[in-house]
Symmetry: C2
DNA sequence: AAGCATGATGAATGGTGCTCATGTTGAGAG
DNA sequence: CTCTCAACATGAGCACCATTCATCATGCTT
């Protein structure tokens, strides 16, 4: 009668707010969800949510099922993990590299949690692959790479982790600081500070400056986020970073953050070797990564 | 991957001890269960139980899933009950009659529990239908009848509650009391005390005496179990009763209990109006009855 | 009023979970 | 040792139903 998939659907619906997006999350069509929920409501004899509102609002019955889902689904995951551990004496390995330069704030707690669940998996972030991590992935020297720039490669799948806004950091006393957002032209007299990578892998260029055919007056690079922040704060340039990378500097009012145009958004992916996808521990890592990053970054408010 | 039906199957398997009987309990074929469990074990990558032993023995993985099932399935039931209550303002009614003369010891706790879960259902055991309860069921004056003698009737379904052994009660000093069981011939010089119903509705006759073509010397009847016990204890006759009806007298060593031949077993049924089957509260009542009777009667040891 | 997004609906389809029929295994009896 | 019986495994076929596709209805935005 009541099935696990119903619970998953309802959770997805609550998190998504609409059938269309909930459908994406559970990898089904909107139609499927509509049918599924209609059937369920008929069988239970009670409406579960109100469709007219946005985001959808749950009835008391719906809320009861949501709370059931939150009780029960974790128990299932735990059991499945336990079983997988009992089954798998297969020593797994999870060696990763990070292409995104400031992921540690959510990656470290993720790894900590994961180690708890899978003590026998060897987790490491070996240095030495920071130059060409995707190639190392292809050569099976690595198992997972965190990146914002998916590049089609055979044997590698890109799993989206979360979306974020790319924002411009400027000094507090900067002329632009009073505006809520900047236009491309605003940057033509600025010094832009970037990580030392090709321009076509930076969303400021591909999604913001190049479409408007604007170039900043000067471009200089810095390896580390702290360094960039110092330069920005002292008025020697501006830089574009993920909102969550800026978060701590914004909260300390060290720099100011501005949207790029109407907002430039990007998605962070985990590039994973296909042969590892589907193993319970890899699935669990990806889920943990999503959950943890959500928790850690959800305090991050744009601007 | 892991589904609710798997958990139900595993619980049934544990309670039944074999695939064949477990299949009955979940209303599937043995083949279905074999397939289902094989698939599951393959997907999990771990064996769940050992088939060669009888009753089957569970591996650690199997036990883990059993414990999951015991955590999770009750939570589902509770949620479904809550939802059914929210949905159903439909005042239900549960009027019952008892054809078996000593069911109160497990029926009362059952009713108590049920009332907790379904306060708005009107539960009653109206007197006045003790004569022809099944007819009253057909006339919709009753909703459920507890009986050990299913009689085919349109619109009525018989739901098995539990199996029990019919045992012979004899006085402590009775000649037969030293034996573990009696043969039909042993009764041809005895006075048999029975409830005042037709002989063909008593298993002592249909399953024990008549097949051997034996009649007791004398037959007398009594309305109440206590009365029968007094007669038996004082050596004025013997009687055949369900083991659980005898239990309290046996434990007080008031009478002795003997198996009839290799053991005569019967099943107690709930006769239910078909239109009520499938309503959540009726399903819940039947489940509660089975569980409660099991708990109450499981202390009852034969002889 | 047009355009867009969301949800509903009905028909068609494909997957899969079940049954049926049969094969295999193991235990107990003669 | 073999016969038998019960329990479980296995493969093929089938039926159901969850899902998809195509389309329609509705409401909000511009």
């Amino acid at each position: 009668m009541l099935e696990l998939r119903h619970l998953r659907t309802l959770l997805a619906l609550r998190d998504a707010g609409s059938l269309v997006e909930a459908a994406e999350r559970v990898h089904l069509t909107q139609s499927a969800l509509s049918h599924q929920l209609k059937d369920l409501e008929e069988r239970l004899g009670a409406p579960l949510f109100i469709r007219k509102t946005r985001p959808v609002e749950f009835t008391r019955a719906g809320q009861r099922l949501l709370s059931l889902a939150e009780q029960v689904l974790p128990q299932f995951r735990m059991a499945e993990r336990d079983i997988a551990r009992m089954a798998g004496s297969e020593q797994g390995r999870l060696h990763m590299a990070i292409e995104c330069h400031s992921c540690f704030q959510w990656l470290m707690p993720t790894v900590d949690r994961f180690r708890d669940h899978w003590p026998e998996i060897e987790v490491d972030i070996p240095s030495g692959h920071s130059f060409a991590p995707l190639q190392a992935l292809g050569r099976e020297q690595l198992d997972l790479v965190i990146t914002a720039n998916p590049v089609e490669m055979s044997g590698i799948q890109y799993i989206p982790l979360f979306r974020y806004e790319v924002m411009l950091a400027v000094a507090r006393q900067h002329a632009l600081a009073i505006k809520g957002h900047v236009e491309p032209q605003d940057l033509c007299d600025e010094t832009l500070i970037i990580y030392p990578v090709e321009h076509d892998r930076l969303d400021v260029f591909t999604q913001f400056l190049e479409p408007a055919n604007v170039s900043p007056r000067e471009i200089r690079s810095a390896e580390m986020t702290v360094m960039m922040m110092q330069l920005v704060a002292s008025g020697r340039g501006v830089t574009a970073l993920p909102n969550w990378a800026l978060a701590e500097y914004l909260s300390r009012d060290y720099v100011r953050g501005l949207s790029l145009g109407d907002g430039v958004w990007a998605t962070l992916y985990a590039a994973v070797r296909e042969d590892l996808l589907g193993t319970p521990w890899m699935d669990d890592f990806l889920r943990t990564a999503r959950e943890t990053s959500f928790e850690v970054l959800s305090g991050v408010k744009p601007a």
